[in-house]
């Protein structure tokens, strides 16, 4: 905080401006969701011994954030990209928050998932964990995720990654079982490694361009020497690929996501890997497209490998939540396809896929939590007979399986359709084959889970024909707190699947925003390319 002598308020007068346009409430919508989440986390940790108000306050804060984000979403859809640069410093010196359709769309989906998880968690966590700051950590995670989606500055993105990392460490060990520590070490080590790679590439970017503002870099990256630029692009691909769990750096995800509470798994599955996927799109499409062009064969290969190997992994799993982890990884492959065919359709497909995956994967993990609660085990071999116990759950699960596999009429179908169209128009036949194969294998893996859990009467072995006696029916409280949010998420998936027009519009705008940087640059306040670069 260096002093600036021109920036002095005397007698309540407005200071001499660095940015001289008055900031309106609409501009404040850009920063408020992140700030409120962060301050809400701070408030809840101050009140952590007051267990009674924790849940209610956290839910109220998230609802407030959702309302603000809906306002911001409507503003962005109507007036285009919005930006605010902190502290009145002109960009690229001040940290910019620049919100386009893709940012606010993902942030909104993230907040909705967080709300569902918070309600679900009331039946999932103990009062001891409330005292340890569960709700505060969830809000901190939301602050990190929202900040990462909205920031327009690469170093700031790194900071939000760290915020997410701190919150997720706290959440993944909550409960303190041995297996959780095991999962936390695998999760923590690889994510630390990924953020370190990201930090290294930030150093290289600053050395090459002298700026870390995304809009600023995007203006000069085309003229940069291709060698260093490609190295940076490859480092970012590795770092964000690791965060997003793309092949071959995906092993940490199924090894850790099944260890915490199901609610926490849902939060991680819905938010964390998506931030990695989003950062990939943002950095390689908007900021340095020439590096992406050079890395195109690598991205195509990674996309195909991820698409095909992940559902095979799911087929081999007998642990329910590990299997879902592999299905999640398969989705990252679809995002990579969009990165490999950077047309409007391809990028729109990838953006919609991320949105779809946030809702679907969270709902699947919440569902897994319900199944584990009734069955008393994570092992699908010991499960069976749930269909006769609860046909409603079996319908929800089947819908989710179809959605994640990309079968019509659910939300997952439309992004896959766009991606296949885009790959065909680019002549990437192998991508099409991989996408279709992925859908097929995912359907097999998912319906296999469904058959084992719901269809088969009892656990594997001699008694598999007899009705499972070990089922523990849900209490009324569990029905209200757990089944309701899961059902609402599934209803979102069905609704957007049947009425995809709005999603298509938003996806197309998101793709334009990423492929044509002019609006992003202009809104950030860096429109003049002849402007002399300092540094």
């Amino acid at each position: 905080m260096a002093a600036d002598k021109t920036n002095i308020v005397e007698n309540n007068e407005l200071p001499v401006a660095m940015i001289d346009v008055a900031t309106s409430f609409a501009d404040w919508l850009i920063i408020l969701p992140t700030t409120i989440a962060l301050m809400g986390a701070a408030l809840l940790i101050m009140l952590r011994f007051n267990k009674a108000i924790q849940a209610g306050l956290a839910i109220l804060i998230v609802i407030g954030i959702i309302i603000l984000e809906i306002r911001l979403f409507l503003n962005v859809m109507e007036f285009g990209t919005q930006s605010m640069t902190m502290g009145k410093w002109l960009p690229p010196f001040g940290i910019s928050f620049t919100v386009d359709v893709i940012s606010i769309g993902f942030a909104l989906a993230g907040a909705i998932v967080t709300l569902a998880v918070l309600i679900y968690a009331q039946a999932d966590i103990s009062s001891r964990e409330v005292k340890y700051g569960f709700h505060s950590l969830v809000l901190l995670l939301l602050a990190g995720v929202t900040g990462a989606f909205m920031t327009g500055d690469l170093f700031n993105l790194y900071v939000w990654f760290e915020v997410m990392l701190i919150a997720s460490f706290g959440l993944i060990i909550m409960g303190g079982r041995k297996i959780q520590l095991d999962g936390a070490i695998k999760y923590g080590f690889l994510n630390f490694l990924a953020t370190t790679f990201f930090l290294i590439s930030l150093g290289l970017i600053y050395g090459l361009f002298g700026t870390l503002n995304m809009a600023d870099i995007s203006q000069v990256s085309a003229q940069a020497p291709i060698g260093p630029l490609t190295a940076i692009g490859a480092l970012l691909l590795l770092a964000f690929g690791m965060k997003g769990a793309a092949f071959p750096v995906n092993a940490w995800l199924p090894a850790s996501y099944h260890t915490p509470h199901p609610a926490v798994s849902a939060l991680f599955g819905g938010l964390l890997t998506k931030v990695g996927a989003y950062a990939l799109l943002r950095s390689l499409l908007l900021i340095m497209p020439s590096a992406r062009d050079f890395l195109d064969p690598v991205i195509t290969f990674l996309a195909i490998a991820t698409l095909i190997l992940a559902p095979l992994g799911a087929l081999a799993q007998t642990n329910l939540r590990r299997a879902i982890g592999f299905l999640l990884i398969g989705g990252v492959g679809s995002v990579l396809v969009g990165l490999g065919v950077p047309t409007i359709r391809g990028v729109a497909g990838a953006s919609i896929y991320i949105f779809h995956s946030m809702l679907t994967i969270s709902a699947l993990y919440l569902m897994a939590g319900l199944i584990e609660r009734i069955m008393g085990t994570q092992d699908t071999r010991k499960m069976g007979g749930l269909y006769s116990a609860s046909s409603w759950l079996s319908i929800l699960f089947l819908v989710l399986v179809f959605a994640v596999a990309g079968l019509p009429p659910f939300l997952g179908f439309w992004p896959k359709l766009l991606l296949i169209e885009a790959s065909l128009s680019q002549g990437d036949v192998w991508l099409v084959v991989a996408l279709v194969l992925n859908s097929l294998l995912t359907t097999i893996a998912g319906t296999r889970l469904w058959a084992h859990i719901f269809w088969r009467a009892g656990p594997i072995g001699e008694n598999s024909e007899q009705q499972n006696k070990k089922l523990k029916p849900l209490t009324l409280r569990e029905k209200y707190l757990c089944v309701t949010p899961t059902t609402i998420l599934v209803l979102f998936i069905v609704f957007f699947g049947l009425k995809p027009a709005m999603i298509f519009d938003a996806g197309r705008m998101a793709a334009y925003g990423l492929l044509d940087k002019s609006e992003y640059v202009e809104v950030t306040g860096l429109a003049d390319p002849t402007k002399e670069k300092v540094e």
């Binding site: 200071p15 920063i31 962060l38 301050m39 940790i45 605010m84 902190m86 502290g87 009145k88 001040g94």
Partner: protein, 140 residues
Amino acid sequence: MNTVIFRTIAPILVAIMVVFSVFILLRGHNEPGGGFIGGLIAASAIAIYGIAAGVEEVRKALKFDPIAIAGFGVFIAGLAGLLSYFYQVPFLTGLWAYLDIGPSKVALSTPLLFDIGVYFAVLGTIAAIALALEEDEEGK
């Protein structure tokens, strides 16, 4: 460690360190110092008091849970940013007010408020870690 000399000196030392940490915090705007280093000094004062008098005693003396202090710091740092809403300037813009107290002019500003937030956040976090470690030591 638990000698008579140390136990006698510790309260005086701690008092001096806490006052010094506040001094460092307040001079930090234009000169070396600031909320981060001030918070670290205050946290080391608390750690020293913990070694001398025992963690139980420190927790009683602090009145508030160290983690809550850290949360308070983050909260008022956020508040410092939100204040600029009322002046129609972007988030975290520095706002200044000058108070004439006798012959001297005292500058109050939102960066100072932010720095106080950083002070409490660092103090709370490091104190919580230090006290938890010292508690482990005592348990053995």
